[in-house]
């Protein structure tokens, strides 16, 4: 009883395994994978573009909720996507292991024996050669020297050759599939060990060190990264320059940076690097990319008591073609000992910045992304900014709820060119001093990347080999001609009389796809028959000359 249950369970498992590793299942899984990846391409993804997902939420609130709950905005980390590719790779491995064993067995095996009826092969040719069967077999062997050949003599003295070639096809096939598994493993490993940090760096700042995650504006890392063991290096931005074509299309971004890593961290040596798009800095096992840029309007606030504060806060481009930017530069009022009063007297300068101003009445927009005629259109807000409220807030905006609740009020609205000033009712002045540039740097760490590349190269090579090499067989059956003298006679008389010959029958079979073997087979069969005739001619001329000399 027990054993039968056990057996049934075993049979069930075996059948499931067979089903899973069958080609048909693999095909279905391939389709499922393609289908499952499709929403990842069509729908906005949280990981790629949050703003697009939010727009989608605004436009189709109900749909978005449903889609989000099934992970359609997070396809590539969803359970169902993972389930499909895990199943596919299990199926793949289940197919690969027995195939590898089979391949190793085949590598040692001799080519299969010549079938009885070669005329039934997909490729077939026949002819006669003026050579005895043994010599023809030798000729054929020479011609087929790059093939794996096994030779046989049948009972009636007929010689047969079986030859096979293209064993590398299966090798390529196995390499390709194993490399895919390797690719999956290395990409997975990389996901665990990677990190990526974003940092806005302003020209002339003292610089930034990859010493901890707190130095970054945003930091995203794999599970095994706790932020304590980042690759040590420091860098600073000396200059940043963008050139635009007259159309407004950027021609080049160029960040002149300096960095230290390894020993130079100790001795304060800085090396320079010309950081551009397509030219990242590779240092200490990490890569540093230039991924964005923008403007920093500089404001100086002079408070009624005469104290001045100058702030450089980066503003965020809202339109990358004109570099119209928005942001919020926030000031604490100095010289107020009462914390409550200080917090209620904060200032924020928010609004728009245009590198090349274009005014429609008082409405500011930007005509061109380069810094030709900078202007800001700002609201000066006074009141409570909520900076100490414990809630994180964006450096690019003020907390709207504080404006709504009346704790933060607009006290001025003005357009300012460089050097112009607003005077507030309480005597505070706000001056627009000028503009500086900032660059967004991305630091990436992908320790498995090089192994991914190795497997990717193996994928291409394996695929190329498995698709271009044909596994094919050719068989020859060489029968001594019935009309000539007998076998034994042929051996002795062929040279002198030239009457002995053999009829040759050739069959061919492509073991994989038939496509393309036809031409090769035809050529090969022709050559075999011709070389038989040729070597016979050469043989007889040799004997003639020998005869004469003796």
């Amino acid at each position: 009883m027990n054993t039968s249950v056990f057996r049934r369970a075993l049979a069930f498992l075996r059948n499931t395994w067979r089903g899973l590793t069958s080609m048909r299942t693999a095909l279905v899984l391939l389709f499922l994978l393609a289908l499952a990846a499709l929403p990842g391409a069509l729908l906005p993804q949280w990981s790629l573009n949050r703003r697009n997902v939010e727009t989608f939420y605004d436009n189709h609130p109900t749909w978005a909720k449903v889609l989000d709950s099934i992970g359609a905005f997070n396809v590539f980390s969803s359970v169902w996507f993972a389930a499909i590719y895990v199943l596919l790779f299990v199926s793949l491995i289940g197919c690969l292991v027995p195939r590898s064993a089979e391949y190793l067995r085949q590598l040692r095996a001799r080519p299969v024996r010549t079938p009885r009826n070669l005329a039934r092969m997909p490729h077939h040719a026949e002819g006669t050669v003026p050579l005895p069967a043994d010599e023809m077999a030798a000729v054929a062997r020479r011609r087929l020297r790059r093939w794996r050949v096994s030779e046989n003599t049948e009972e009636d003295g007929t010689r047969t050759l079986s030859a096979e070639r293209g064993y590398l096809r299966e090798a390529g096939n196995l390499v390709f599939h194993f490399a895919l598994v390797g690719l999956l493993i290395t990409v997975g490993g990389d996901q665990l060990m990677r990190y990526e940090g974003q940092k806005i760096v302003k020209v002339g700042d003292e610089g930034f060190c990859n010493s901890g995650t707190f130095n970054y504006d945003s930091f995203d890392a794999g599970l095994t990264v706790d932020g304590t063991n980042l690759s040590p290096f420091c860098l600073r931005l000396n200059d940043f320059d963008v050139r635009y074509l007259h159309t407004g299309q950027p021609e080049r971004f160029h960040a002149d940076i300096e960095y230290q890593a390894g020993e130079s961290l100790e001795n304060d040596n800085w090396k320079s690097h010309d950081l551009r798009v397509n030219n990242p800095l590779r240092v200490a096992g990490d890569r540093v990319y230039l991924t964005g840029n923008g403007y920093t309007p500089v404001f100086t606030v002079t408070f009624p008591d005469g104290t001045q504060r100058t702030k450089r806060t980066q503003w965020q481009p809202v339109d990358t073609t004109t570099m119209l930017s928005q942001g919020a530069t926030k000031f604490d009022r100095p010289g107020m000992s009462n914390e409550q009063r200080r917090h209620d007297n904060q200032l924020a300068i928010t609004g728009l910045f245009a590198p090349t101003a274009s005014l429609d009445g008082k409405v500011l927009s930007s005509r061109f992304p380069a810094l030709n005629d900078p202007m800001v259109a700002v609201d000066v807000l006074k009141g409570k900014l909520g900076l100490a409220g414990g809630r994180g807030q964006s450096i690019f905006s003020v907390d709207q709820s504080l404006i709504d609740s009346g704790e933060l009020n607009r006290v001025a609205r003005e357009n300012l060119a460089v050097g112009e000033t607003i005077r507030l009712d309480d005597g505070t002045t706000v001056r627009f001093d000028g503009v500086e540039r900032w660059a967004n740097l991305q630091v990436s760490h992908n320790p498995f990347q090089r192994y991914v590349l190795v497997f990717a190269v193996a994928v291409v090579i394996g695929l190329g080999a498995s698709l271009s090499i044909k596994r094919r067989r050719i068989w020859l059956r060489i029968r001594p001609s019935p009309e000539g003298p007998g076998d034994d006679a042929a051996e002795t008389t062929s040279r002198d009389e030239g009457t002995a010959g053999a009829s040759v029958e050739i069959g061919g079979l492509a073991r994989t796809d038939q496509a393309g073997y036809g031409e090769e087979f035809t050529r090969l069969a022709d050559e075999l028959l011709a070389s038989g005739a040729e070597s016979s001619a050469r043989g007889s001329s040799e004997t003639n000359s020998l005869g004469r000399s003796s």
Binding site: M23, L30, A456, L463, G518
Partner: protein, 339 residues
């Protein structure tokens, strides 16, 4: 920076090549349509033989008899289909030359690779597809041992030129972009490697997809002998068409794989990661998976033939979707179409 004269010349050559291709396409269709009488006879003879006949097959067409010296005798007139076909090939070659000239002058006008935006990309893909067609014809004309396919194949030129001309027309109108410099992200030697591999694969896969469509049309008429005539009956045998589709796909699959990997390597240098599920990356992978499914289907019993052909067509559909929809409609990192 942009040489306007050369750019204008390129535009003119582009327009000319479209016209020339349309003319060639009409000639091919004329050959295809007028070749009916010979087709039926030939079909009867060719059908039972395997498509991969070896030594047994000998070219059946006798070369036209030469006029004997001294006697002025008019050469025997070639059949109309033969004439149309010959002209069509000549016109196609002319079209390719003008088309290639258009791309080269475009590249010279802007001093960079001539595949920096959707217009140039589409144009280059068509050039590859048409050249692939000419290569097939050339190989065909060399191997005299395949009498079953040789004469029929040429008439199919129209089916290659039809999608190519459509894509060209679309590129030249809706996708047209004036000659200009590349944006910084595209300024890399990778544009030579990645984009050219993508162009070649797309062009050849387009060719393979057309072969699969024709295969299905042909199969329908083969399975339904009650309906003589029609397009299907004039096509080469389904075996030949299937083999074309397969060989083209097999040839180009490693190139397409390479194109994706080269893209990943470029992305590593330009965007800071080798793979980020950008819509274009995702869709390229989907196309790759579909073509992988096609290759597997060819090796799975019950999936060969019709089903495999549909998969190949699906692959082409994904490629076209990837080319247009992803670049134009969906915002991703590949959306620098100059639109």
């Amino acid at each position: 920076m942009v040489n306007q004269a050369l750019s204008n010349l390129s535009d003119m050559a582009f327009a000319t090549s479209v016209v020339v291709y349309i003319f060639a396409m009409l000639l091919y269709f004329a050959e295809f349509a007028s070749g009916k009488a010979t087709e039926t006879a030939e079909r009867g003879a060719a059908e039972p033989a395997r498509a991969t006949v070896g030594v047994g097959g000998v070219a059946t067409q006798e070369p036209p008899a030469r006029p004997t010296v001294g006697r002025l005798e008019p050469e025997p007139r070639k059949p109309w289909s033969e004439r149309f076909g010959g002209m069509a090939v000549a016109v196609t070659v002319l079209g390719v030359l003008v088309h290639a000239f258009s791309l080269v002058t475009r590249g010279m006008a802007v001093g960079r690779v001539p595949w920096g935006n959707m217009y140039e990309f589409g144009s280059a893909i068509c050039l590859v597809a048409v050249i692939a067609w000419l290569v097939v014809l050339y190989r065909q004309s060399r191997s005299i041992r395949k009498p079953t396919t040789a004469p029929k194949l040429r008439g199919l030129g129209g089916f290659v030129l039809l999608p190519a001309t459509l894509l060209l027309f679309l590129s030249g109108t809706a996708l047209y972009a004036t000659a200009s410099q590349l944006q910084p992200a595209l300024r890399s030697y990778w544009i030579w490697i990645h984009v050219s591999a993508a162009i070649v694969s797309t062009g050849v896969l387009m060719f393979a997809g057309v072969a699969s469509v024709l295969f299905l049309v042909r199969l329908r008429s083969e399975n339904d002998p009650a309906r003589p005539g029609g397009i299907g009956s004039r096509l080469p045998s389904s075996q030949v068409l299937d083999r074309f589709a397969y060989r083209a796909t097999v040839l180009i699959m490693p190139v397409w794989t390479f194109a994706i990997i080269a893209g990943a390597m470029w992305a590593e240098a330009a965007w800071g990661r080798f793979w980020g599920w950008d819509p274009k990356e995702t869709c390229s992978l989907i196309a790759w998976i579909v073509y992988a499914a096609y290759l597997h289907a060819r090796a799975t019993s019950g999936w060969r033939g019709t089903r495999a052909a549909w998969i190949n067509i699906l692959g082409l559909a994904v490629m076209i979707f990837n080319l247009f929809f992803i670049n134009i409609v969906i915002s991703g990192l590949h959306s620098y179409a100059g639109l």
